[in-house]
């Protein structure tokens, strides 16, 4: 063996308070870069529309000064839409990162294991049957997501849960929900079917503050929980027995992660519908950009926000006069990015 230099990791360590940790320069750089990119896309999204507003005027309008017309357009029409997109992207991607890490499998995303499909079935049922029980579509979407999560967890439970059981049973539940949704659409009226499909594809059209605020409150609670469990999640990646031996209360952490992940996906779906592919793709893109062995939670969340806001910008501007649903663009744009990263990783010999 040739003599190699002993690699010394970069770290920071303060004497007081006793804070320390390893530094991952590439992860930090990627995270910052994505944050800057997201900020720019948010600015452009606010400025572009039927009525273009210069970036300087956008900043003024956000602050509440400047032309009153601009203030109205920015603060009441465009900001809630962009904010909803950003928060939904964060929620979906973080939820995806939690599920993928917890089960050690990128396929275990909430949009694969039936959680978003559960929301979809509940909302489509309300639209097609014309009765929402006085709850509103958002609450129904939330309840549908939670119900399918409970179903998956209950069926997967056998003296504890394992990752692959959650995936297999989740895929089963997902197809049950999809079939139910298809049946409801097939037997309903054309007008309702149009409305249901519009919601199912994932949509940010006409989102106002009344959709943004509940989502923001949910995220304010769930994101700290998710990030707080992140440290324990790192031992969970080594398998249940190793994690248990390292002092991780495996079943409790898993339950906490599931609840946080389900809450994030359910509130996100309630606000914008099941936007395709974001929770599967964003954590994987973040992981490959950052070169880590697991989906980094914060970077995944930023990636999710960028993907949704960026896709919505494209959706609004691609065809003049038509506003496409954002879900179409996330699939079309996101899939090639993910494929490219996967192919590149294989060529570089770093597996996946």
């Amino acid at each position: 063996m040739t003599a190699r230099e002993v690699p010394v990791p970069r770290y920071f360590r303060l004497a007081l308070p006793p804070v320390s940790g390893l530094l991952r320069p590439r992860l930090i750089a990627v995270c910052l870069g994505l944050t800057v990119a997201t900020f720019l896309v948010v600015c452009v999204s606010l400025s572009v529309g039927d009525f273009s507003i210069g970036l300087l005027d956008v900043v003024k309008a956000v602050a509440g000064t400047g032309d009153p017309g601009n203030v109205l357009i920015i603060r009441e029409l465009r900001m809630p839409r962009v904010a909803t997109g950003l928060l939904v992207g964060v929620a979906f991607a973080l939820s995806g990162a939690l599920f993928q890490t917890m089960t050690r499998n990128p396929m275990a995303s909430p949009d694969v294991i039936g959680l978003t499909e559960g929301s979809g079935t509940a909302v489509v049922a309300a639209i097609m049957l014309g009765w929402d029980g006085g709850l509103g579509l958002q609450t129904l979407g939330l309840l549908g997501g939670l119900a399918s999560a409970l179903l998956v967890y209950a069926l997967a439970w056998r003296g504890g849960t394992t990752g692959y059981r959650i995936i297999l049973i989740g895929i089963g539940v997902s197809w049950m929900c999809t079939s139910a949704t298809d049946y409801l659409i097939a037997r309903g009226g054309e007008f309702q079917a149009q409305a249901a499909l519009g919601w199912l594809v994932g949509n940010l059209n006409g989102r106002g503050w009344d959709q943004t605020v509940p989502l923001a409150i949910a995220l304010a609670v769930l994101v700290p929980i998710a990030l707080g469990l992140g440290r324990l999640m790192r031992t969970l990646q080594l398998g249940d027995d190793v994690a248990g031996g390292l002092g991780t209360p495996v079943q409790w952490v898993r339950l906490g992660l599931m609840l946080a992940g389900v809450g994030l996906i359910a509130f996100g779906t309630a606000a914008a519908g099941p936007i395709a592919f974001v929770s599967l793709m964003a954590p994987q893109i973040a992981q490959r950009l950052a070169g880590t062995a697991w989906p980094p939670p914060v970077t995944s969340a930023v990636t999710g926000g960028l993907v949704v806001v960026g896709s919505d910008l494209v959706a609004r501007t691609l065809l003049p006069g038509t506003e496409l649903p954002v879900g179409i663009i996330t699939g079309v744009l996101g899939a090639p990015v993910l494929l490219w990263l996967l192919i590149r990783a294989n060529r570089a010999g770093s597996g996946g």
Binding site: A3, P17, G245, G351
Partner: protein
């Protein structure tokens, strides 16, 4: 080590998966500061016993005690600072570096805000050096050879800094040179650092060579335990493994050497039944 003589014992232990009992009414006192090897046929309950000693499995009856305190009453974190376990055939996520893996072993000593203290750093580097993988620290675990990978996992368990270390078949999937290598390393851990080791081993001869204390199990019960020379007799091996054999002396280590008698390739001089 703060406490060089941890008292780990199981009393009246009954273990079961679902409703199938695996271990029944078992009593065991782990000799502190020594290497204990648990041997037995497949599915005799030896790995199950090891998992219960690490609280990965809750007993149906009886209890495991560490220094007189029931394992289930110990805080999770405190237990993980005193007792570590390396399960059989652990798998690291693709791309995880050796350093990250070994640093995971420090989890019971870390908090959300303190993740690379001086103690963490010295423990991680000591473990890397002891397992001779310092220059592999930035390599992904999944790209290492089987022997190097097992060294990395043992380094993780070392970095955890526990007085008691439980190893479930640490030599599985390794070629013979690497098996000896890993067992020598385990012996170093015991002799240099005074750690109490309990390991499940498949190979009887290796168990005889490396163990101070031997526990032979059959159908969830302990059939014989004690000094390998006393435990490993032709009669015990026939009882435990249902295998006829001759026991001689290992010319290298002076410990018992089990030579199986098979239906074929057996010399005329060997008595057949």
């Amino acid at each position: 080590m703060e406490n060089p003589a941890p008292d780990l014992r199981a009393s009246d232990l009954t273990l079961a998966y679902d409703d199938a009992p695996v271990v029944s009414e078992l009593d065991l006192v782990v000799p502190p500061g020594r290497i204990t090897a648990i041997v037995g046929a497949n599915a005799c309950g030896k790995s199950t016993l090891l998992r219960a000693l690490a609280r990965l499995l809750t007993p149906r009856h009886g209890a495991v005690h560490l220094d007189g305190r029931a394992l289930r009453s110990l805080p999770t974190r405190e237990l993980a600072q005193r007792l570590g376990i390396l399960p059989q055939g652990p798998v690291a996520p693709d791309g995880l570096t050796v350093l990250d893996l070994v640093n995971r072993g420090r989890s019971p000593h870390q908090t959300w805000w303190r993740q690379w203290s001086k103690a963490d750093q010295s423990a991680v580097y000591a473990a890397l050096a002891a397992t001779d993988i310092t220059d592999l620290a930035d390599r992904p675990v999944d790209e290492l050879s089987g022997g190097q990978r097992q060294r990395a996992w043992i380094a993780m368990a070392m970095a955890q800094g526990t007085e008691v270390l439980l190893l479930d078949e640490p030599t599985t999937y390794l070629d013979m040179a690497h098996q000896i290598d890993v067992l020598d390393l385990v012996t170093d851990l015991n002799r240099r650092e005074g750690r109490t080791i309990v390991m499940v081993l498949h190979d009887l001869n290796q168990a005889c060579r490396y163990a101070d204390h031997m526990v032979a199990m059959k159908s969830g019960r302990i059939v014989a335990e004690g000094d390998p020379a006393g435990v490993i007799t032709a009669a015990t091996v026939e009882d435990v493994f249902d295998l006829r054999c001759q026991v001689t002396t290992d010319p290298v280590s002076g410990t018992p050497l089990v030579i199986p008698i098979s239906r074929h390739h057996t010399a005329e001089t060997v008595p057949r039944d």
